[in-house]
Subunit: 205 residues, 2 copies
Amino acid sequence: MMTKHNILIVDDHRITQSGLRYLFASSDRYAVVGTLDRGATVNAFVQSQPVDLVILDLNLPDVRGVNVLAEIVGSRDMTVIVLTGETHVAEIHSALKLGARAVVSKGDPLDHIVAACDAALAGEIYISPHISEALGKFDQPPVALSSRQMAILHYLAQGETNKEIAYRLSIAPPTVSFHIAELRRKLDVSHNRKIVERANELKLL
Amino acid sequence: MMTKHNILIVDDHRITQSGLRYLFASSDRYAVVGTLDRGATVNAFVQSQPVDLVILDLNLPDVRGVNVLAEIVGSRDMTVIVLTGETHVAEIHSALKLGARAVVSKGDPLDHIVAACDAALAGEIYISPHISEALGKFDQPPVALSSRQMAILHYLAQGETNKEIAYRLSIAPPTVSFHIAELRRKLDVSHNRKIVERANELKLL
DNA sequence: GAATCGCCCCATATTAATTCGGGTTGCGGC
DNA sequence: GCCGCAACCCGAATTAATATGGGGCGATTC
């Protein structure tokens, strides 16, 4: 038997950290070498000591998990698996695109977590049944917004009026209405009052 | 030493369930007698066997934790403590009003959970530092909406226009505007586009 | 029982937002 | 080059939403 794989846990819930430590405590293949509750500290940790596998929560208090992933992946020979509480499809897609090797839900049985670690280290991609079911449901054509549309969506999310947005962008109010109509069309909603909600669902904000 | 206190864990994250079981496994005062991941099953469980203490997550997949709390509290001599991931102030207030005896964040150190159990069973109210800090920040007077205002808020959340709402309620469009202005005032927002967001924050929907 | 308060309603006048028709630019394909 | 296409912009006309001022109704208080 080779030496154990070093695991770093990144999750802001202490009880989850503890549960994971306990899960791996009796393993002869894995050793937990650290637990972090903030995304900002991850990069420094993995630079300072050898880590083979990172178990990353996407929902951290300081930064989005995907940003942490983007920061650390590729920096050295390291495998990252995502352990997430909520199932945000777009975010999971991003994580996989960025190089996450597995995605497991916190609602999954515990042996799925170990299975994900095994598979990820073997070079496979592991998606737990929970997650893959959710992923399949929404096989959505990705919504691409232009920069103008994105800017206006952003101001809409702040709750600003068309007039205010027009002033900020130095364009006429009817032009703002035009872009909003485009947003309605692309986001497939019939009412302005649903645009921001829908954009949040699609994680466009 | 008296007999151990029976604990029921209600949380949809398996890893949290496991962490809590482990936390109490070595205790001589507590015994975990069950773990549930759905709110709908809680009432049947506590009817079927003696439970002294329920550790309840507010964020369950099927129903809001506060509804579970409302259902089980008072049904017998049982203490409920809330263990929550996110800190939704209004929901925590509701939980306390409904009779929860302690509130702990999942981000708190583990000994706070045990402290909460001890305090709750001793008849005290325990609020962890994390939570009490968040609670203090927003010491909001509770927002009371009239039934008309609530109805209109509901339609707003569906994304309907003033005209549609007016038609549904058989009132004139300016009357709808009037109620919306009242909502803006009561919810303390400057833009209509923020009303639904704010209402969600305050869990008024 | 009069004053007060909150809620509900509306018509009118005003302001905001949308639709419509029309124009520009830039870019990839025929 | 020229066509089509998508994004971007606007003015004028239309429609939607708001503020304003006012009336009625029921409950509470003095």
